[in-house]
């Protein structure tokens, strides 16, 4: 069979962090084949596809398309070579019609300058009918459902005569029915000779749709099989890896605890979306424990973080802190009650990059550092000095925090939040992008907080981390809790078991955390 795409020895290093996102990756895609590219968050799948689509320049490696060696420097060029990509987040203009969106950048012309609206509608309509999509070319995109918008994205690529189509987590935002109809479309495309790559980490999707599955882990390709020759367990083991490499010293788990924060059947449903982002989530975080939340990206961990931080209002249920209902409180009110929270996005949410380190350090304790509305400069300076020393941050209080390294920025955020905490503290993806030494530092702090009696909530898609430091673990899948693992269970749980829960292969009966 002829190869549609052949990637050899692709290396991509992000200079900012030195992270080897792709470390000598090989990938072949046969014509008319559906390939699933699987792997955990941060395994390097999206980077590899960005390289193929001309969005990232590889540091080494070769690519050939339809047997010809090529160098792809831009998406436009990728389009010319017949490669198209549908991103996870739609890139559509809501106020334009389907036809206008699809033809954007490649408009049919009437004469030399005028945009042939009718011609565009006809051409797009032809593509829609050929592939039996269910959208109307003259409709405004803003009025479409999420599933239909995705169809527009696919049509956009087909209109450009693409015969190699990359879809980045196409099912993440779809309902079951929408997924089903998407898969019918994809199969039809493959029969027409289009070659497809689907980025996904959902096992049942891999087994239903793909001819072949390629699995990545930590920037390397760890497996490549015809789908019918492997089973879910094998794939999950390859995705998760084998060993738990992190061990943190800690006191034995003490069961003398009291409840601090309780979620009671909490759901979050956004307008215009059929699928709830959180669906009837109930758990209790107790003092003196690290409660881990595991899950694959897009299954509710980020939403949980937003709810805990007071950014996202809940639609039903209740959140109770020390016997008081805090469901309706925003960030301002939660901070007043002593919320301490290390956000996943430390650059956009956790810091103001142009502001000084000392200014970043007091954002949630402003009142303690001002008298009659006047900031106490000396006190702020001393506070910053002592925290920088305690947390061994390389930097000075007056430097803009954006000039520090990622690890040091995270230390500043940790310092701030740990100083601020009263009885519970939320960590979301606390070691993402950090090196081993910095990660270790974070774990030690978390364990220390636990030993002091704090309720520590750890939200992380890094399974190693969850298993290494949590006392109890809650597993999320599609916005619901599918498993709760108590400490004694955690001692002998395997990553394979965890993978099965995280990927929706298995579910406990009525789990309650």
């Amino acid at each position: 069979m002829e190869h549609a795409v052949e990637m050899r020895g692709i290396v991509k290093i992000y200079p900012e962090t030195g992270l080897r996102a792709n470390d000598g990756v090989d990938l072949t895609l046969n014509k008319g084949q559906i390939l699933c590219l699987a792997g955990e968050n941060g395994a390097g799948k999206t980077t590899l596809m960005k390289v193929l689509y001309g969005l990232e320049k590889p540091d080494a490696g070769t690519i050939s398309v339809m047997g010809n060696p090529v160098s792809i420097t831009s998406p436009l060029q990728a389009n010319r070579l017949g490669i198209g990509m549908v991103h996870q987040h739609f890139m559509l203009v809501d106020d334009f019609t389907v036809a206008q969106n699809v033809t954007l950048g490649k408009e049919p012309l009437k004469g030399r300058f005028s945009y042939d609206l009718k011609g565009a509608a006809d051409a797009v309509d032809a593509v829609i009918r050929k592939h039996r999509f269910s959208i109307d070319a003259t409709k405004r995109v803003g009025s479409l459902t999420v599933g239909q918008k995705q169809q527009v994205e696919i049509v956009k690529m087909l209109y450009r005569d693409v015969d190699i189509l990359i879809l980045d987590e196409p099912t993440a935002v779809l309902t079951e029915q929408e997924i089903e109809s998407l898969f019918i479309t994809l199969r039809a495309l493959a029969e027409h000779g289009t070659s497809l790559i689907l980025i996904t980490h959902k096992l049942h999707e891999i087994t239903t749709i793909s001819d072949r599955v390629a699995i990545m882990r930590q920037g390397a390709m760890v497996g490549d099989f015809p789908t019918d020759s492997v089973d879910g367990k094998q794939i999950s083991r390859l995705m998760m890896g084998q060993s738990v490499s992190l061990v943190v010293d800690r006191l034995p788990y003490t069961p003398v605890q009291h409840p601090v924060l309780r979620f009671d059947n909490v759901s979050v449903l956004k307008r215009n979306q059929q699928r709830p982002l959180l669906n009837g989530v109930s758990f209790t975080a107790r003092s003196g424990e690290i409660l881990g939340f595991a899950g694959v990206g897009g299954n509710g961990l980020g939403v949980l973080e937003a709810v805990l931080g007071g950014f996202l209002p809940i639609s039903s249920g209740a959140i109770v802190h020390k016997d008081e209902d805090i469901s309706r409180l925003d960030s301002h009110a939660l901070r007043k009650r002593g919320l301490a929270y290390v956000p996943a996005d430390r650059l956009q949410v956790g810091s103001a990059l142009q502001a000084a380190v000392s200014e970043n350090l007091i954002v949630d304790a402003r009142n303690e550092f001002s008298r009659h509305g006047v900031m106490q400069r000396k006190k702020i300076e001393q506070h910053a000095q002592s925290l920088l020393k305690t947390y061994s941050v390389k930097g000075s209080p007056s430097m803009p925090i954006g000039t520090l390294s990622g690890g040091n920025i995270q230390k500043v955020i940790l310092a701030r939040e740990i100083t601020q905490y009263q009885d519970y503290i939320v960590f979301s993806e606390p070691t993402w992008g950090l090196d081993i030494a910095s990660s270790r530092f974070v774990y030690e702090r978390m364990v220390q907080l636990r030993d002091e009696g704090a309720a520590v909530l750890l939200i992380s898609s890094n399974l190693d981390e969850i298993l290494a430091v949590s006392d109890r673990v809650i597993v999320m899948y599609r916005g619901t809790i599918v498993a709760v693992l108590e400490s004694e269970e955690l001692r002998h749980v395997t990553k394979e078991d965890m993978g099965a829960y995280m990927l929706g292969l298995r579910q406990q009966e009525a789990p309650h955390g």
């Binding site: 960030s331 954002v363 402003r366 009142n367 900031m375 920025i409």
Partner: protein, 353 residues
């Protein structure tokens, strides 16, 4: 001690580097002025002499130049405050004009109050400007409308309304000017550099700069405002009331414009003439851009602007330069200062993380 000096040295170097952009802008603007004079004037040397030396040739012109800078300082401060919080206030024209108008009619109504009346009248003018701008902030907070557009539109409408009021109900029938009656003597600021128009409002402008500087860098509210401007998501995360900081800085911004309007009346004009302030709002914006929203830099920026303007007027009076040519030169300056690219020259680039 050594450490301290080193720190100071670093700050000075950083400040200088950050000023390179402004210096380049001033340089290009002046070069453009020379080129335009050579092209458009029959007697370029004479024109240039009046342009450059005119404003400083005697006390009269020098004082007037300083006087011209006063409303620019207030406007520049107003814009800087909004910009620092991440808001845009393009409604300076209307805010200044209406502030001046309200201050004038208040002064007329409170004629017998004496100096207490001055304070009350100015406060009323200040609040008028502030509320006009705050309206745009509220609209943004409630419905996420662009305060840039709404402040501009509201201002345009307000200018017409104020002009109507001056030409209609509040017109002084005793003069040929389209203007309100003159404010009482006791409300007028003292002239401090006769025979020029310069009044003690200059001190008020300097104090205002100081107040804004202290507010932004020394108070809790100023800290919250700046953080909200730098990263609204971080501000929300840290528990700062983000809704408040969509409205309050706009209020302050309009308030300074309104105060600037009142100061212009009490210090210079003594009556609110129809469209007396045309251009002052926009020039305040230009001043804030040259100053890069730093209150301390507003004074030199305003002086530069006033210098160019009075230079142009001088050249107009004493050589063959027409009003249009002078305006072209000013437009070139305005065009240059709004170029973000030039602003960035030499500034310390933030490391991308």
């Amino acid at each position: 001690m050594v450490d301290r000096m080193e720190k100071r040295r670093v700050t000075i170097v950083a400040t200088l580097r950050n000023s390179i952009g402004a210096v380049v802008i001033v340089g290009i603007a002046l070069a453009a002025l020379v080129v335009l004079s050579l092209l458009l004037s029959e007697t370029p040397m004479k024109t240039l002499r009046y342009f450059f030396l005119g404003p400083v040739q005697n006390t009269y012109y020098f004082g007037n130049m300083l006087n011209m800078a006063i409303p620019l300082i207030f406007g520049g401060l107003g814009v800087s405050l909004a910009m620092r919080s991440g808001s845009f206030n393009l409604g300076g024209e209307g805010q200044l004009y209406s502030g001046a108008f309200v201050a004038t009619i208040s002064a007329l109504a409170l004629a017998r109050w004496g100096s207490a009346g001055v304070v009350v009248a100015l406060l009323l003018g200040t609040c008028t400007g502030g509320l006009l701008a705050a309206l745009s902030g509220v609209l943004r907070m409630k419905w996420n409308t662009s305060e840039l557009i709404t402040s501009f539109l509201v201002s345009n409408a307000v200018v017409l309304v104020v002009s109507y009021l001056i030409a209609g109900p509040f017109m002084d029938p005793a003069t040929n000017l389209i203007a309100t009656r003159m404010i009482p003597e006791s409300f007028r600021f003292t002239r401090i550099l006769e025979p020029s128009n310069l009044s003690s409002a200059l001190f008020a402008a300097v104090i205002a700069v100081l107040v804004v500087h202290l507010y932004l860098y020394k108070t809790k509210s100023g800290y919250e405002l700046r953080l909200f401007g730098l990263n609204p998501r971080f501000a929300a995360y840290g528990g700062i009331r983000t809704k408040w900081y969509q409205v309050w800085p706009m209020f302050l911004s309009g308030a300074f414009y309104g105060l600037g309007g009142g100061m212009a009346i009490f210090g210079t004009y003594y009556a609110c003439m129809k469209e007396f302030s045309t251009g002052m709002g926009w020039n305040g914006l230009a001043v804030a851009l040259i100053a890069r929203h730093r209150p301390g830099a507003v004074i030199p920026a305003a002086l530069f602007f006033a210098y160019i303007e009075s230079g142009a007027r001088n050249a107009m009076l004493h050589s063959d330069v027409t009003f249009e040519i002078a305006s072209i030169v000013q437009s070139v300056v305005f065009f240059l200062v709004t170029s973000a690219v030039l602003q960035k020259i030499g500034s310390v680039q933030r490391r991308s993380v």
